[in-house]
Structures are given as structure tokens and as C-alpha cells.
Point group: C2
Chain length 197, copies 2
DNA sequence: TTTCAAATGTGATGTAGATCACCTATTTGC
DNA sequence: GCAAATAGGTGATCTACATCACATTTGAAA
């Protein structure tokens, strides 16, 4: 159960639980291993779970008319992801989630999540706080699209998550920034982050 | 207490409360009236409250190097707003909130909000669900910036909130869409929504 | 009602970034 | 280890939108 350590620490940053509560909560997670390129949620799927990343990198993305890919989120170790639109509205997936690298993931069904939130007040608080953070991050991203050009967005991303430079193919970074891979290539040929990170 | 009706209905769409719980919750709100152009939160302020709009329209915005305005959100009747970054991180306001028209607003201090969330589990659930919705809306906005051009974003906004066409000056709509007022003017001269809405 | 400021419309011009075309690394599967 | 696929780089060209400049309309204050 060593794998759960990262999740335990993540939770305890926000709320204090008894060992019993924590154990009960953790008992509802399932552990899964995925290979690079493996799909976790495909557009049109019924969406039942949230996912917590233990290791590896996922991407949450949308494909426009079968051509262009738009990345909504990279999910890194310690991050949650899912198609929240589908999950909260109980509709089919409109986005995809797959693996950028081999990954270990914990899944929690939305049914269990709601059940445990109802049973344990502190867990409900934990998820309120978690969503608060996601909301703030998303607002910041909106602002970065409005106020900055591609170069600014690229530099901000590299500053915040320098590890992406080595792990994630450049065209995926372009798809996250909302810029063509050609333009991104021209941008960072003048501005390389520290490759040793 | 008639003014509170809109808030009561808003809450009861998500959770069921006893009359006692509901009354206790509502007793923590303060009612305020503001005039057009009046400022509710100014950049640099200490932020203490969330605001629930009863009537009128607010805007939440950011000003870049004292020149360009970027609108993060229009707050309409039945909507919540604040500087959530400042509120959750307990930092000074980095954005502004003011009134597009005369407005009636209920305010709830973050201290009271957290207190009541701890006291009444169902209120914590209400705020979790509310933030979930905000998060989804924000993600949709990110996608609209990535996938659509200015015209698409304008049409989507007018379809969703046609009332904005009459109530909100065009330059503010431009500042929300992330487009210059000149470009917006050129766009909608070819595409007017129904003015009778 | 008049007046002044703010909002809006519109032409001319400049520019970031898209797209297309093609070439050169790197991976990945056999 | 080799072939094929995938990722990445770079020039040429095109386009949506910004910016500047100025005219016109609207709306609020006096």
C-alpha cells in the first residue's frame, strides 16, 4: 500500500482525517497501470471515474473535426483528472484522456465519491477545496490566453512546469498553448529552458 | 425578506435544507445597493467577501499596465462573484469588481462561509457543487479561446446570454471576448441578435 | 434643450501566428 | 539493426485581428 502514500499526503495537505476515515476513503480507490498511448477516456464513453495520477503523465484533450488537437490539461503525479463536464452532468464524454508515458493511476468512481462525501464531512471539504484550486488554475489560464501572446504563455508554462520540456513532445506543448507546432518551434529556438531539469 | 427569495431558490436547486438551517445560513448575508460604476473590489484591496447578485450586472476584470481591460466574468442576477484567488490564498486583490448598472448584492464573508460550511454539511456540499459548475464554465471558456475565432466566441456568448447585447456596452463585450472593440464592431455589423430580447 | 464626454463605426495599415511545403532528426516496431 | 513512422525545424505565403486615426452617434449632466 506504499503507492497510496502520495494520495495520503495530498489529502492531508487540506484536511485532517482519522486513520479510520482515511483507510475507508482509500479503500474505494482502484489501482491501474497504463502503457504509453493507452486511452483512459474516449470521446463518447460513459464516464464513471475520477483519476488520481501516481506516476507518469496523462493528457486531457479535445479533437476538433478529426484534425486539430487541443489540450485542456496535462495531468502529472499528484493531480486529478477526468471529463468533469460528463461526470457532473452525467453525459457522454466530449473529451479524451490518454497516457503520454507509462502511468500508474488510482481511480475513484463518482458514485463512491458522492457516497463518501455524504458520509464524511471532511472528505466533502477536501473535494470543495480541490475544486476551488482547479477553478483558480482555470481562471489563470483564461487570463493567460487573453493577456499574453504565444511566447509569454510558453515561458510561463516552462517556468511553472519545467519538467514538461523533457517529458512531453513539443507538439503537445503547442496543443496546450493553443499555437501551431511550427510557431512554437520558432519561439523556443530563441529561448531554451535549462535542459538539465 | 423577499429579496432573499432568489438566493433561496438558488440554494434549493442543489441541496435540501431545513427551514432552520436555511434561516441560519441566510442570516449571515448583508444586503448592499450599489450605483452604476461603483467599485466593489479594487486591485490591492484586502478581500473578505463573496457576493451574490440579486439585480443588476457586475463585471470582474483585470487591467494590464494601466491600459487594457480584460473581463473575466460578467456577474448577472443569481450569480456569485469575488476575487477567488485573493479569497482562497488570503492575498490582496489582483482583480477588480464593479457595477455595470445599478445593482443589489448580498455579501457573505469568507470567515462566515467557512464557519457555516464546517457547521452544516449540506452547505459545504452546496459550495462544492457551485464551484464544480464554475470550474466547468471556466474550462469551457478556455476551450472557446483555443478552438474558436472572435466571431465564434461572440456568437456563442450572444446565444448563451442574449440579454448582454442590450445591457452591456459593446466595448465591455469585446473586453470579455479578448478582441478589440473595432474588430467586434466589424463582426456584429454582419450578425445582429434579436434586439427585442 | 443644449453640451460635453463616452461609446461606436469605419478606413488604412501593420503584425503575430496559421498554413503549406519540404527537409532532417528521433523513435518504435519487426 | 533496419525500415517506417513520428517528431521537429525552417522558409514562403496568407489571414485574422490589432492598432491608429478620425468621423458619428448616444447618453448623461447641467
Amino acid at each position: 500500500m506504499d503507492k497510496l502514500e502520495i494520495l495520503k499526503q495530498h489529502i492531508s495537505r487540506y484536511v485532517t482525517l482519522t486513520d479510520e476515515e482515511l483507510g475507508y476513503f482509500l479503500s474505494h480507490f482502484k489501482e491501474n497501470s497504463y502503457k504509453k498511448n493507452q486511452v483512459i477516456i474516449r470521446e463518447g464513453d460513459r464516464v464513471e471515474n475520477e483519476y488520481f495520477v501516481l506516476s507518469g503523465y496523462l493528457k486531457t484533450f479535445f479533437i476538433n473535426e478529426e484534425t486539430k488537437m487541443y489540450i485542456l490539461q496535462f495531468a502529472m503525479p499528484g493531480w486529478w483528472t477526468s471529463d468533469y463536464v460528463a461526470l457532473y452532468n452525467n453525459t457522454r464524454a466530449t473529451i479524451n484522456v490518454d497516457c503520454i508515458s507509462d502511468a500508474e493511476v488510482l481511480s475513484l468512481s463518482n458514485t463512491d465519491l458522492e457516497k463518501i462525501c455524504a458520509e464524511i464531512h471532511a472528505i466533502e471539504r477536501f473535494f470543495r477545496w480541490r475544486t476551488n484550486r482547479g477553478y483558480i488554475a482555470s481562471q489563470k489560464r483564461v487570463l493567460s490566453f487573453m493577456t499574453g501572446d504565444a511566447k509569454k504563455r510558453y515561458e510561463d508554462l516552462m517556468q511553472l512546469y519545467p519538467q514538461l520540456y523533457n517529458v512531453v513532445p513539443k507538439q503537445l506543448i503547442a496543443a496546450y498553448l493553443g499555437v501551431s507546432r511550427e510557431t512554437l518551434s520558432r519561439l523556443y529556438s530563441h529561448h531554451k529552458p535549462n535542459k538539465n531539469v
